[in-house]
């Protein structure tokens, strides 16, 4: 990387929920620090009544926290967040604004880019600065190709980064200075959040999980998904699925990993009874390690599995869960 002196200022939009900063924020702060070199890393925290974040955000690499604490930001809204960021950028835009690829981040970034006339790139899995340009790589064409996108100099850049591709940086003793900023008196927020209904899940969110246990048609029915839940609980993993269980109504749509569902890149992806259709591979082939359990030795998933187990998942999964529990009890 030819970052050299680094970017003068990089902003990271803090993703938070229920008072807790989401993991993607730490990942982005690490990347921001790398791109800024000796330049400034600023965490932008929008919300209402959010707890003092200076310590957490500083430890992960922020020099400064810009805090906009306003009742109108109690819920994420496209227009509220866009107005806040556009207002802050009008006082002095950063070279680069990093936003995590969450439902809200994907909703916000293009709108903000259009408002600011900034260049935007989404789904980034690498980010570098070369010859004054921001160079990002991103999966395209159902992950059958990697695109290199160049955002030229002389404009603000907004990059939306995939979760779990940049490492969480080691903590430092840094404490960020907090600067409070106000929202303009007149901002227009036309949408109204009626409610946010949590989907009851025992496990971590899919896009943030280190380990994912995922089931396909080979599970045969919804009654067998508890086999995955049990293994996931033992491993501290999240549970996902390929498309057929969703289409068959065994699990809700938010389980789905693949072209028409979520893109994940965990440390380990355990595919159970998943054949490996291209549309599924599009969502998970960026996993660091893939373990596949399938009865069919010719299942395409075995062509990319680091460990392929040809066998009956109904015999293997309960034993695997017990073995993981034993191992955890010892270690």
């Amino acid at each position: 990387m030819a970052a050299g002196a680094g970017l003068s200022e990089v902003w990271v939009l803090v993703a938070h929920e229920g008072g807790a900063v989401r993991k993607i924020t730490s990942e982005l702060l690490g990347k921001a620090r790398a791109l800024a070199g000796g330049g400034r890393v600023v965490a932008v925290l929008l919300g209402a009544g959010v707890p003092d974040p200076a310590r957490t955000l500083g430890r992960r690499g922020a020099d400064e926290v810009i805090l906009v604490d306003d009742a109108r930001l109690a819920h994420y809204t496209t227009e509220g967040y866009a107005a806040a960021l556009a207002h802050l950028a009008a006082e002095g835009p950063p070279a680069l604004l990093l936003i995590g690829s969450t439902a809200q981040g994907r909703d916000l970034a293009p709108r903000l880019a259009a408002r600011l006339g900034a260049a935007v790139v989404t789904d980034c899995q690498s980010l570098d600065v070369a010859d004054g340009a921001l160079v990002a790589t991103r999966p395209m064409y159902t992950r059958k190709a990697i695109g290199t996108v160049r955002l030229g100099p002389g404009q603000m850049w907004i990059a939306v980064a995939l979760p779990a591709v940049f490492p969480v940086p080691a903590e430092t003793e840094r404490t960020a200075e907090v600067r409070s900023a106000a929202l303009p008196a007149e901002i227009r927020i036309r949408t109204r959040v009626v409610e946010t209904r949590a989907i009851e899940r025992e496990t971590v969110p899919l896009t943030e999980a280190e380990v994912i246990v995922s089931g396909g048609r080979g599970l045969r029915g919804p009654e067998n998904f508890p086999l995955l839940d049990a293994l996931a609980r033992a491993l501290g993993a999240a549970v996902g699925s390929s498309r057929p269980p969703v289409d068959s109504g065994w699990v809700p749509h938010d389980y789905e990993i693949g072209q028409t569902g979520k893109t994940v890149s965990p440390q380990v992806y355990i595919a159970c009874g998943i054949s490996g259709a291209p549309q599924h591979l599009a969502g998970m082939s960026g996993s660091k390690f893939i373990v596949a359990i399938n009865k069919d030795p010719n299942a395409p998933i075995f062509q990319l599995a680091d460990l392929g187990v040809v066998g009956d998942l109904f015999e293997i999964l309960p034993r695997l869960t017990e073995a993981v529990k034993r191992r955890k009890a010892v270690g």
Binding site: A82, V121, T122, M140, Y141, V193, V194, L235, P297, Q303
Partner: protein, 262 residues
């Protein structure tokens, strides 16, 4: 109700992709091109609103000549009108430029609702929809899984799938929505629909016809420089014909020694 649906024609996601040797794009020779999957859901949503409230559905696409096919499919599904926005300056346009061209088409038509797919499966960017909402100065809701418009057409209630939650939003109309696949089940074009679509004219408009100057469209801020093949994954170890206990042992060893999660 005046409904606009924005479309894109893309390679079939099941088709293999051949990257041109110089990396500048993909080789489209013999490639099966289809209406972007999510845009089928967008078209379906538009048609259902028309069925509920009356009005017209206009399909619009930015793209080369071949993109007519996607528009033809929208007409066959039941759209009333279709327009292709085609201009040399739009070749290699970035998403914000595409949004500006679409906005120039849409603004004079004063829609009640603009609907897009949540992303297109070729570049996967999910940028045009929200950028278009901004240029049109409309409120937006992205990746919606449910859409209900109240009887007096003043507002819509939508559901968005977040990470681990569903957000219920109230959005005043006119508005722009991008749609998730769980929103609906797209209809197949009927035979009479296909016949009728063949006779319909697809308007073709360049930037001048849209009343856009080259300066207004601008130059791309983000440029796709090259495509490369993803790093190949190769099959690792395969355990075949083992007893379940041995298979479990192999997985445990892998998780702890290779993947280091145990």
């Amino acid at each position: 109700m005046n409904i606009i649906v924005c479309l894109k024609q893309v390679p079939d996601t099941e088709a293999p992709i051949r990257i041109r040797p110089d990396g500048t794009g993909i080789d489209e020779t013999g490639l099966n091109l289809v209406m972007n999957y999510y845009d089928e859901h967008a078209t379906e949503a538009a048609l259902r609103l028309r069925e509920q409230f009356g009005g017209t559905v206009t399909a619009v696409a930015v793209g080369p000549e071949r993109a007519r096919e996607a528009l033809r499919q929208a007409l066959a599904m039941g759209a009333d009108e279709a327009a292709l926005l085609r201009d040399p300056q739009l070749d290699g346009a970035d998403h914000l430029q595409v949004a500006r061209a679409l906005a120039a088409f849409i603004t004079p038509r004063t829609p009640d609702v603009v609907i897009c797919g949540k992303l297109s499966t070729d570049d996967n960017a999910a940028v045009v929809g929200p950028a278009l909402a901004e240029v049109l100065d409309l409120p937006q809701a992205t990746a919606i899984a449910r859409l209900e418009v109240d009887p007096n057409r003043a507002r819509a209630t939508v559901h968005r799938e977040l990470e681990g939650a569903v957000e219920v939003l109230e959005v005043p109309l006119p508005a722009l929505f991008t749609v998730e696949r769980s929103l609906n089940e797209p209809r197949y074009p009927s035979l009479p629909g296909i016949m009728k679509a063949k006779r319909k004219e697809i308007a073709v408009m360049d930037l001048a016809a849209l009343g856009l100057s080259p300066e207004e469209v601008g130059s791309p801020g983000a440029v796709l420089e090259r495509l490369t093949s993803p790093p190949g994954r190769t099959a690792g170890v395969q355990v075949n014909g083992a007893e379940p206990e041995a298979a479990v042992e192999a997985i445990i060893t892998f998780l702890s020694e290779r993947a280091k999660v145990l």
